[in-house]
Symmetry: C2
Amino acid sequence: MAGKLYGLGIGPGDPELLTLKAVRLIKESDIVLVPGSNPEDTVAYQITVQAVPELAQKQIVGIAMPMTKDLSMLEKTHEEGARQVAQYLEQGKICVFLTLGDPTVYSTYIYIHKKILERGLEAEIVSGIPSFCAVAAKMGISLVEKSEELHVIPAVYQFQEGMELSGTKVFMKVGKRSGKLRELLKEKKADALMIENCGMPGERIFASPDEFPDEVGYYSLVIAKEGK
Amino acid sequence: MAGKLYGLGIGPGDPELLTLKAVRLIKESDIVLVPGSNPEDTVAYQITVQAVPELAQKQIVGIAMPMTKDLSMLEKTHEEGARQVAQYLEQGKICVFLTLGDPTVYSTYIYIHKKILERGLEAEIVSGIPSFCAVAAKMGISLVEKSEELHVIPAVYQFQEGMELSGTKVFMKVGKRSGKLRELLKEKKADALMIENCGMPGERIFASPDEFPDEVGYYSLVIAKEGK
């Protein structure tokens, strides 16, 4: 009998934000897959092992997931990753794939998920806390109330049109765009804040656009509320 | 010494989607607050007691939270709720407030949170899985990939402008607007699905707009993907 793949959201960084379901499935699994070439060095492994010490006794396999916008390169690595995972499933193994945040929100897991289903194998997504919820919680603010709309925009691509939307804007993966975003938010007199590495080592909070540096790390997120 | 209030997101319905942190804080708490007049009958209680059986031994207090758009009525009930909670905190009690989904996304908890902080008392938000992530996971699909934007729109207010946005649209609290939303989605030839009571008793899935009834329950959510 073929095994099953579970794509587990492990949340934004705090090991205590893993769900009971993620913890149970990791314990029950035969193989733990993590995105990266050196499994024990990955952020996903480092977070999870704190919540589930049993992880250290498991067979851990790294699935190479280079960050690139080159679509043919991406397709090739996803295909190779899926082939690797499919082999384990065909051996009847229960595999869990650890993914930061939630697997349905800009995760690389989803490509493996689709390819496993295409091969007629079984795969299930298990939700995790998305980073934008964790950042709002950390700052003690709501994302949206009453009739407000929530717009999540991957800043690494573009953000100028998104800035015009009503309601709350979340800009993800700010990175090198931090300086440009700062200028636009200042121009709009927006009520915004940024967190880099929320809940992880090296966390930094920037309470207003004035404080945003020209460049920040990849795991940076801005919440911009409707101006008053 | 004054106590502390924790606003706990308990996720969308599946008891296993509670986080480790929520479970720990419920166990450590003196008083468990739930939105509603008959605490043990509330959805929040029913979900949580399955994950944390110790809940049945706790002091459970209902905080009245009528669903109304009457702002002065809302303000009055939130003020009364905050007064009740503040009394417990001033007695040094650790209180947890159970809220469905995530406390930063359209929750009524957030109003109590603000009022407790205004009184100089301590309150902390603990993230939960938002319903839209759980619905996408259940359906085995991504919400957003690569450069796609995610727009969350409370359909109970309006949805026509939201329909024009690019990327993925999530319409929450569809209820009586189901029929109108169906017609608009069909007109747009949108690739959309709806779930009522995701992960809870009475769950129903509508795989395309053609299947949407004129009216559905309050806990209904539509995911509309960018047309191909």
